[in-house]
């Protein structure tokens, strides 16, 4: 019984994918215009793109920038968020500034950052870094704020100093919330990656997508949409596995994808 349910649980996203592709196919056949190829055509173009070394290198470039920007953002944001959560002063200091930056579209800073750092890797990585750091700071902040005071007291009574309490009590207790933030950050990293490359057309997956759009190569456009979409789904699934391993002990209600204020 349980194994049958497991099989259904693992198969259902796959079925959803197939269903969406089928809907696409039907709509494309029904519209029957050259600018909207069928799902089958687009899928056939995918191996062509991935088989072309230049294009593949472009996509790998994108992924590299995303990984670097994401890792840097996580490394800096988690300590800052935890500090904000545990100290009212630190949070009063940083909170208003962060609130002001949050609704600014980070990729929209691209044209300005390009003037300073050029069109290369540095500006794109910086933009991804900015996009990822805010949700991660926010969720770490909320997670650290919700840690029970009693646990910290017990820790202090057992002779842990401030740093040890941070590492051994606050960090694990806030981990589910932090990981929720990282997952939001991952989605935002992908969005910023695509848009930054769309603005600075030099290399990367976004570059291929929007160049194909401008040149009316619609097969390539839709094939790139499939590739980028698949990248998002695979990364998200991999991250979910990692999260599951790290916070198996926490209640399952932490799976709100973009949740918590």
């Amino acid at each position: 019984m349980t194994s049958a349910r497991n099989i259904i649980a693992t198969l259902s996203p796959l079925l959803a994918c197939l269903g969406l592709l089928a809907v696409w196919q039907v709509v494309a056949l029904w519209l029957d215009t050259e600018s909207f190829p069928t799902a089958w055509h687009a899928l056939q173009t995918v191996p062509q793109i991935l088989g072309d070394p230049e294009q593949l290198l472009n996509i790998l470039d994108s992924i590299r920038r995303m990984v670097i920007g994401f890792s840097l953002a996580v490394l800096i944001s988690i300590p800052l968020g935890l500090a904000m959560g545990r100290s009212a002063r630190v949070s009063a200091f940083f909170n208003p500034l962060l609130m002001m930056i949050y609704p600014v579209p980070k990729a929209a800073l691209m044209p300005i950052i390009m003037l300073w750092l050029g069109v290369g890797d540095a500006s794109k990585t910086l933009v991804i870094f900015l996009g990822v750091s805010l949700p991660v700071i926010y969720h770490s902040f909320q997670g650290a704020k919700a840690v029970e005071e009693k646990m910290l007291w017990s820790g202090a009574a057992m002779g842990l100093n401030g740093l040890q309490r941070m590492l051994r009590i606050v960090l694990p207790a806030a981990l589910p919330e932090i990981l929720t933030g990282c997952r939001t950050g991952l989605v935002l990293a992908l969005i910023t990656m695509v848009t930054s490359e769309m603005i600075a057309r030099q290399s990367g997956a976004g570059n291929i997508l929007f160049n194909a759009m401008d040149m009316a190569q619609y097969d390539t456009v839709f094939a790139m949409i499939i590739i980028i979409g698949a990248l998002g789904i695979v990364l998200d699934a991999a991250f979910d596995k990692l999260r599951w391993r790290l916070v198996k002990w926490a209640e399952p209600h932490q799976e709100i994808l973009l949740g918590a204020s």
Binding site: P103, V104, L115, T195, V221, I225, G229, D236, L257, L258
Partner: protein, 254 residues
């Protein structure tokens, strides 16, 4: 109490002033040429000037129409589907895998397809905003509604509430805090996405202003739309916060 509040506000104002001061210092000590980083005074002056011009207000209006239309559709769909999925297992079985696949998809990549389907006008941008704002609202509605205590439902039933009214009288109000949190995230995302969509392809709106200024290297004009969208986001966030305070009066924690 009030002095403490004042201290908190002052403390928060410090880093903002600090950033402005560094910005000004970079300009006035000549570290950054004005063509790359215009002084803050000039930018805010330009913003004030622009706010008086009709063309700029038209652009703000275009952006706001897209933002609100997309966001409101996302709220209606997200709350509706979220509640339905939490209450009806059959709908849940269909919605869950679809959400699993669609939520992590970077929607901006779909934008070229949306342009082909809906054209360059409002429709494609509103659709993109809706797609991006939908999932955070849907997910937090779903989790909020499925977290409602069974006891509440039982007591309402015992008190004689008809079954079909349970959804509106018990579950929706109990899930309200979670729904509003989702709306807030959806709002921030809407602000970001509407701007991006206008940057990619548009003839009006704040995003279009930024791209136009970038093409002609008018650095001052590049900062103005950015600051405008930031202020717009702050204002909307404040409004939503007020609405939350009003709707959630009487709830144990806001």
């Amino acid at each position: 109490m009030s002095t403490q509040r004042l201290a908190t506000v002052l403390m928060g104002a410090l880093p903002i002033l600090f950033v402005l001061a560094i910005w000004q210092a970079l300009c006035s000590f000549g570290f950054a040429p004005p063509s790359l980083l215009p002084p803050p005074g000039k930018v805010f002056l330009r913003l004030a000037q622009q706010l008086g011009s009709l063309g700029f207000l038209d652009d703000i209006l275009a952006t706001m129409i897209r933002l609100f239309a997309g966001f409101l559709i996302a709220v209606v769909l997200g709350v509706g589907i979220g509640l339905a999925a939490a209450v009806v297992p059959a709908i849940n079985a269909v919605v869950r895998p679809l959400v699993q696949v669609l939520a992590p998809l970077p929607k901006v990549a779909l934008y070229p397809a949306l342009i082909i389907l809906f054209g360059f006008d409002h429709a494609s941008k509103i659709t993109l905003v809706t797609l991006d704002a939908l999932f955070p609202i849907l997910l937090s509605t779903y989790y909020g509604a499925s977290m409602v205590e069974q006891k509440l439902v039982w007591s309402a039933l015992a008190a004689g509430t008809p079954r079909w009214q349970i959804l509106f009288k018990v579950i929706a109000p109990a899930a309200l805090p979670s729904i509003l949190t989702g709306c807030r995230i959806g709002l921030v995302i809407s602000c970001i996405v509407v701007f991006l969509a206008e940057m990619i392809s548009s003839t009006d709106g704040l995003g279009h202003l930024l791209v136009g200024a970038a093409r002609t290297f008018q650095t001052v004009d590049m900062f103005v739309p950015l600051i405008t969208i930031s202020l717009l986001g702050l204002m909307l966030n404040g409004l939503l916060y007020g609405l939350r305070k009003y709707l959630l009066r009487g709830f144990p924690e806001v």
